[in-house]
């Protein structure tokens, strides 16, 4: 994968989307308030719907339908032409719209640096801190069972 090709841009968009989808709408709004948001319009009005969540038989086999989840989605276009998409679990249409706006900015050469440093990066820090907290709590419950007569297994 080249560092400047379309694959790396896609990877960057996906990484930003992951952080945004994991963040609370209020936290994204708070970060967006700190930057000059470019003029934009809705390409698709935010809407709520469902996706069918799939698992795999045995965890690693053929897919099966587990059950649905609510999803919100939106698309925006910046005045400069970039089109951004926002998808998130849940029914918060405003959150989907903010994700779409960020996705459009990530694609803009002029704006991607600022949205990365002022919006995505701090949200990523918070997301990773939350994951680390949960992992540390779980780690404290790690157990070493031992069998009374030492055997093979």
């Amino acid at each position: 994968m080249s560092l400047t090709g379309p694959d790396s841009k896609q990877a960057q968009r996906k990484a930003a989307m992951t952080v945004l989808a994991h963040s609370a709408a209020a936290d994204i709004a708070g970060r967006l308030a700190a930057i000059a948001v470019p003029s934009h319009q809705n390409l698709r009005e935010p809407e709520n719907g469902l996706v069918m969540l799939r698992g795999r038989i045995g965890g690693d086999g053929a897919p099966f339908n587990l059950g649905e989840a609510t999803v919100s989605r939106a698309a925006v276009r910046l005045a400069s032409g970039e089109v951004g998409f926002g998808y998130t679990l849940g029914r918060d249409a405003h959150k989907a719209q903010m994700i779409a706006l960020c996705d459009a900015m990530v694609q803009s050469a002029a704006l991607s640096g600022e949205v990365e440093t002022k919006v995505i990066a701090p949200l990523r820090v918070a997301m990773n801190a939350e994951r680390a907290r949960k992992a540390a709590e779980s780690a404290a419950t790690r157990v070493d069972f031992y069998t009374m007569v030492r055997g093979e297994g």
Partner: protein, 367 residues
Amino acid sequence: MYVAVKGGERAIENAHRLLAHERRGDRDVAEVTLAQISEQLALGVDRVMTEGSLYDRELAALAIKQARGDMIEAIFLVRAFRATLPRFGATEPVNTGEMQVRRRISSTFKDVPGGQILGPTFDYTHRLLDPQLAEGFVPEQPAIAEASQAATPRVTDILGRDGLIEPSPQADGDAPVGDLTREPLSFPADRDLRLQNLARGDEGFLLALGYSTQRGYGRNHPFAGEIRFGEVEVEFFAEDVGFAVPLGSIELTECQMVNQFKGSTSEAPCFSRGYGLAFGQSERKTMSMALVDRALRAGELGEEVGAPAQDEEFVMSHSDNVQSTGFVEHLKLPHYVDFQSELGLLRKLRQEFAEANEAVEMQEAAE
């Protein structure tokens, strides 16, 4: 046969008004919030999401509140809600092997790579009611420890490397994934449809069936190879975007049952398996599901089929508590026309019986 009735509008309206009043309970007692239900009755919310077949904590909490804590009524409400939204498509299958594990135990290997993590569990509690919890109890902050960076492979993957367990069935090329919300059930059903049915099936029903297999009605000697609970990432291939977009994460519980061997003259014996997967922390549900999944494979694995849990049509036709409650509870709706015709028939039969007896008595008297 059910014949529609008219009338009673005022009484029905007032009954619903009374229901709303009773639902609220004593108005001097604080109203319960959705956040309180979601945070403090979390496992109830998980069950409503799983059997309602819709992952949305807030909606499940609302359903529990509206249903006054009646779980099957809440599941019914959630099922009805999902019919109001369009479906954008299906997600990429989740990878439970990359779960951010909150709990992960194996009853087969004590030294499982990645370690055994008890997580938040009722296991090893004494099941004594705790009066402290009655009011104002502030629990300690959880203990923390350095998290291991080691991977936590599924136990079945570890057994699979040595060929000791059967591999999972792989997807059949372009065959579509069965979806019982789109096509009515028909039998025999493939395993994807069976698992979808079991995933939304009633926990109590599956628990009883799973238990029956352990007691000898289709025994298959299970070990809980692994139970894991935690967060998995969800991705959805969005055509407009052109790649699989991350949607966030969901909490899942997965159970891998390891069962007695199968083998033949041409195949070396290996463990067989049953699988359970459900939303949230739903351990009893996934364990029961895995037992029943394995029992339903009896025919495929060349075992004698005869126990209720091995009967696919019996299990799948009665697992859905919304369907079951619909048919059982419809009996309380007015059946006046139906009953009148039964009553008419019964009166006629009794009259014929009386007339016949009278004729016999008269004949006996004459003789």
